[in-house]
Symmetry: C2
Subunit: 197 residues, 2 copies
Amino acid sequence: MTRTGRRPGNADTRAAILAAARDQFAACGYRGATIRGIATQADVDPALVHHYFGTKRELFAETLQLPFDPTRIVAVAREGDPSEVGKRIARVLLGFWSTEAVRATMQSLLRSALTDEESLEAYRGFMFDTVVLPLVAAVAPDRVPLRASLLASQIIGLSFVRYVAEVEPLATAEVETVVAAIGPTLQRYLVGDLADA
Amino acid sequence: MTRTGRRPGNADTRAAILAAARDQFAACGYRGATIRGIATQADVDPALVHHYFGTKRELFAETLQLPFDPTRIVAVAREGDPSEVGKRIARVLLGFWSTEAVRATMQSLLRSALTDEESLEAYRGFMFDTVVLPLVAAVAPDRVPLRASLLASQIIGLSFVRYVAEVEPLATAEVETVVAAIGPTLQRYLVGDLADA
């Protein structure tokens, strides 16, 4: 295909950028993909990518079609009683996941992460760089990367058991039941003593 | 195809039973499938199924081609210091998972559980009935089903983060580092105070 010059900002441009972004995130991962590379593939000026989608983070979130802003959770960690941060995180996650639309998205993300190495790489990079690491860094006394991967392990496992495998009683337990059960685990991973770990 | 009577116990019989078992477990789930139904589909006497594969549990384990006996973990929970049961379970799991063959099997099981409703149903039924529930029942003071689903959430999340997503430092951390980090969580889910959960 012959390049006919940069596209003007028309109604199709947004869709072309989004398609190019999906390709580039899949090919290079979240960390490797660049706004410049996405602009080149979409045949537009990089400024137009920023104009339509803001930052790389916002563009990636758009490609995921997340029906919530995952970075809100960082603010939740910072605000309020530090001794309750684990329960607060559990509560806000369960709130995010409480609608059918979000559960469907989570399920399809988990599926593509498991079956497609490239989706996994892109999604892992995005979640860690923009959500998990900032969240842990906001409250942890030390060992941010270890705490972040431990936190992710409990959160991913909870979402799998509650929403994908639908194991009872966790599948239909009240939010506050799950918060009381999981909150102390998240609390320890975030700020607790990891002993000899 | 005309039925020509029950197959004699020949070299192909074992393979026919195994194929029928895979079909029946997929169609009916682990709990729903019966030795009789499997025997009927394989066109053999039920006694021959028992002869080749023992119990339904052993037959299902055979269809999964697990390179270890998952029920060993129940014995591990029962034996030894009750205050160390969480660490003991973590240690034996990490031991199971330490070979490439087991990791490949776990990964493919997680994948098929996420992408195939029938595999998920069969595998969930098997794991809970023969491993998780007996393990928890052997040590828990109360609330066995809740504790079992919590335990599963941390174990599945750990295996996902360490072996599928390969998030560092958890992906390459020493076994005893992971045991120290995860053990107290498993301990609390198995025998600890779940407070208001």
